[in-house]
């Protein structure tokens, strides 16, 4: 037989060999996987040595935590707002509802050419929101013209832009926390709701919960006796948006201070003051740079407590570092900084240190400043959490392997008992295993993180795979020996009709799970569908070739 005829006759078998070889190299050759960009990083952690294959493991087999929760927020869209009114509307609504600046966002959506307003606060009702918009004279654009906003216009959701920002912020926070491999993504539910899912290997549930609960809205608030009749009052003088550069958590030996150094934005539009100039002016106006220098004693650094309950006569000029609703630090303006602000020189080189009590505070302040505030808080009353310790995850890895091996042994045993013919049974088992190898190789190549649900999928694939091989074997050996290629081909084709039909139904039955967001089950469905496809297209035809070679007398 010439080489061409050989290939023509056994192409199905050759295809299987090619695929198994490719799968094995995807599994075992280091650095084979697509987009393998973190090999360097892995080497630092020495995980490459521990893992003999290129398989990636998901949370359930690696250890870590996952939290899914929907964002809190309401949206009104299609609003009649002029571009230059955006900020006014934002602050009008925010003040009417008594919220912080981060809790109200006005967005222009270029694609649809419309405005939305979002409120991110659990305690605000739909009618309060609508009322605030009415008070601000903002109307809804309709086909017929513009009309007043009502409670019915308020939707219980946040915009896609907000969710995208949240995911970005969360990913930045995970990276700042120094953990690799964490991800955040969104998942849509049937009701059109969106859940934000965060997964971080190597974290506990509590740690992840803490990372996500903090809104991380950092502000500098001036506490000074500039209110009515000399009462003390709070004015927000700097927000995250005013800062252009943020350093890392640092320690100053000379003063024994933990701090994060910050540069305030000194660029501005024509004819307007830059944020740095605004800040400088506010400091001068409130008296921080004159009578208030060094006048702040409300913080007890030893006990880490703040005392806002001092007599009105005891005048205080404090710069409060606030994260969300908590005061982290309160300190006066120092001499040097006060002098350079007083002379209006500081704004030309606007950097300062945000001083905090402990190293831990400095670190979390830096994380919050770098990642920015979470656009909307997450609703933990409607969450789902999963966490598993690395030790238990390792156990599960062993168990999965053991359960998989036991299942394959069982299947092999039954097949041997049934056929009692090595020529039929051995290739059958080998083919079923080849299917799993190809599937594993595929998973390694696309770097699909494997979880317990995928393991269940692999075992299901072995099950359906052997079913189909039994059909092929029985069909081909039907009615006595196979003595010609023509007989073989016709019987094989008949068997293939059944297999194809069965595969089509399995794929149809599994596809809802692959599409719907039902937690772990997506992995199971995807592996099962892939397995059935690989089986029908590659391995099961090849088994036909093997049987033909063994049964027809050539």
């Amino acid at each position: 037989m010439g080489p061409i005829a050989f290939v023509k006759e056994y192409w199905r078998f050759l295809l299987l060999v090619v695929f198994v070889t490719a799968a094995l190299s995807a599994l075992f050759v280091p650095g084979f996987a697509m987009g393998d960009d973190d090999v360097v990083l892995d080497e630092e952690n020495q995980t490459v040595d521990e893992n003999p294959t290129n398989l990636e493991y998901g949370l359930g087999l690696e250890g870590g935590a996952r939290i899914s929760a929907p964002p809190v927020g309401m949206t009104v869209s299609d609003l009649a707002i002029e571009h230059d009114e955006q900020n006014d509307v934002q602050s009008a609504v925010q003040q009417d509802l008594g919220l912080e600046p981060v809790d109200v966002t006005v967005r222009f959506h270029e694609e649809g050419n419309y405005f939305t307003i979002e409120v991110f606060d659990e305690d605000t009702t739909e009618s309060e929101f609508a009322g605030a918009l009415q008070a601000a004279d903002v109307e809804v654009v309709e086909a017929g013209g513009e009309r007043e906003v009502t409670g019915d216009d308020v939707e219980n959701r946040v915009t896609q832009d907000t969710r995208d920002q949240m995911i970005e912020t969360i990913e930045l926070r995970i990276n700042e926390a120094g953990l690799s491999g964490g991800t955040a993504y969104e998942e849509a539910t049937l009701g059109g709701e969106h859940y934000i899912v965060t997964e971080v290997p190597g974290m506990t549930s509590d740690e992840l919960h803490e990372l996500l609960t903090d809104r991380g809205d950092v502000r500098v608030v001036a506490y000074h006796p500039g209110g009515e009749n000399g009462t003390h009052t709070n004015d927000t003088v700097l927000t995250r948006n005013d800062m252009s550069q943020i350093g890392s958590a640092s320690y100053d030996d000379r003063y024994g201070q933990h701090y994060v150094s910050v540069t305030v934005d000194d660029t501005s539009a024509e004819g307007e003051r830059s944020p740095a100039e605004e800040y400088e002016a506010a400091m001068n106006e409130y008296g921080f740079t004159s009578q208030g220098v060094g006048q702040c004693t409300i913080q007890d650094r030893q006990a880490d407590e703040f005392d806002f309950d001092h007599p009105e006569g005891d005048q205080q000029w404090c710069l409060l570092t606030m994260v969300d609703d908590d005061v982290v630090d309160a300190h006066p303006m120092g001499d040097d900084l006060a002098a350079s602000m007083y002379n209006e020189e500081w704004s030309a080189n606007p950097t300062f240190r945000m001083i905090v009590p402990t190293q831990q505070d400095a670190h979390s302040l830096a994380v919050n400043l770098h990642s920015g505030a979470l656009s909307a808080p997450l609703d933990f009353d409607r969450d789902q959490q999963y966490s598993i310790s690395p030790a238990l995850a390792d156990q599960f890895k062993e168990y999965s392997l053991l359960i998989g091996v036991l299942s394959i042994l069982t299947v092999s045993g039954v097949v041997f008992l049934r056929y009692r013919d090595k020529r039929v049974a051995l290739p059958m088992i080998a083919t079923a295993m080849a299917e799993v190898v190809i599937l594993l190789g595929f998973a390694a190549a696309i770097r699909m993180p494997l979880d317990l649900s995928h393991v269940a999928g692999f075992i299901a694939v072995v099950g359906t795979g052997v079913d189909d091989l039994v059909i092929i074997a029985d069909e081909v050996m039907d009615e006595g020996d196979v003595n010609s290629q023509r007989v073989f081909e016709s019987r094989f084709r008949k068997a293939f009709w059944i297999i194809g039909a069965a595969a089509a139904t399995t794929i149809i039955a599994m596809s809802p799970l692959a599409v719907l967001s039902l937690g772990d089950l997506r992995g199971f469905a995807i592996i099962t569908i892939l397995g059935v496809l690989i089986g029908v297209l590659i391995t099961r035809p090849a088994y036909g070739d093997i049987l033909q070679r063994l049964l027809t007398d050539k």
């Binding site: 075992i459 079913d467 149809i508 799970l513």
Partner: protein, 298 residues
């Protein structure tokens, strides 16, 4: 070494009514069980934490069973010791149907506080919680998934055979194959989880395999009905029994090891495949026989 031979049923000795009586009676009992449970509890099968809200903890502790039972403000639904090699003092604890999310998120803290630590291993090894609203949403999604899978399967069945009786036989058998394991779950008090839903969907695939095989042999090939049926049975029973054995081994080992997902997939598929044997070779064969001898002419 034993042998594995496919049994031979003398179909000619039984009337259609006799053959159909068994699967229909089992199906009726299963539906009664599901209906009864629904009336009593508001759900046809016990709902696990995935669908009712609640928590599942895996803990490593030297505390005794009774102490674990008392460690929480909510009474656990079940406490199961993990029986894997090299593992001692490990338990999985289930809480289903907890409505209050604060209570749910507090369970892990209670475990840390009230259970005795085993060496230096952390007490809570794994924690999985679902709030009531998340669970409700998952429930709807799962129902839709099952419905979509079932409808899709029915459409394919009709497209493949394009005749009413053989197609409806496939659909009926798949329906019964899902209802019987559901009733089994209700009786054996196995809660419906994501894993069991996956198993039910997988069952649709497995169930249709043997039905298609049977229909194909009887309808698309020439030859005597009983001869065709016999050949289809030989292949079909081999298939189903092989899968059943694999699932049984997986179900037993996984439940000993405390790998809940794999355990429920294994056990439900085992029961479902057993139901499939009965449905395919008593119900479908009878329907096909009726169709072959009476239905075609009309």
């Amino acid at each position: 070494m034993g042998t594995f031979d496919v049994p031979d049923i003398e179909y000619t000795r039984y009337s259609s009514r006799q053959l159909l009586a068994v699967p229909l009676a089992v199906l009726a009992v299963a539906l009664l069980v599901l209906g009864g449970t629904f009336v009593m509890t508001g759900a046809p099968v016990p709902l696990g934490m995935d669908f009712a809200g609640g928590a599942q903890l895996t803990v490593q502790t030297t505390s005794a069973d009774a102490e674990i039972q008392d460690a929480f403000t909510v009474e656990p639904d079940s406490i199961q010791a993990v029986q894997a090699p090299d593992v001692d003092n490990q338990y999985t604890i289930q809480f289903a149907g907890v409505e209050d999310d604060d209570v749910i998120s507090d369970l892990a803290t209670q475990a840390e506080a009230n259970l005795a630590q085993d060496g230096d291993a952390s007490i809570v090894q794994s924690e999985s919680t679902a709030s009531a609203s998340f669970a409700e949403q998952a429930q709807q999604t799962a129902l839709l998934g099952i419905a979509a899978a079932f409808v899709g399967m029915s459409v394919i069945a009709f497209l493949l055979f394009r005749t009413f009786v053989p197609s409806i036989a496939i659909v009926a058998s798949a329906f019964s194959d899902m209802v019987i394991p559901l009733a089994f779950m209700s009786v054996a008090d196995i809660p419906l989880s994501l894993g069991t839903v996956a198993a039910l969907l997988m069952l649709i695939g497995y169930s249709v395999d043997s039905d298609i095989l049977l229909n194909n042999h009887v309808l698309r090939r020439q030859g005597d009905f009983y001869e065709s049926t016999h050949r289809a049975m030989r292949t079909g029973i081999t298939m189903t029994v092989t899968s059943m054995m694999a699932m049984l081994v997986m179900g037993i080992t996984a439940s000993l090891f405390g790998v809940e997902l794999l355990a429920s997939v294994g056990i439900i598929l085992f029961v479902g495949l057993a139901a499939d044997l009965m449905n395919t070779y008593l119900m479908n064969v009878t329907l096909l026989r009726w169709y072959k001898f009476h239905g075609v002419r009309s």
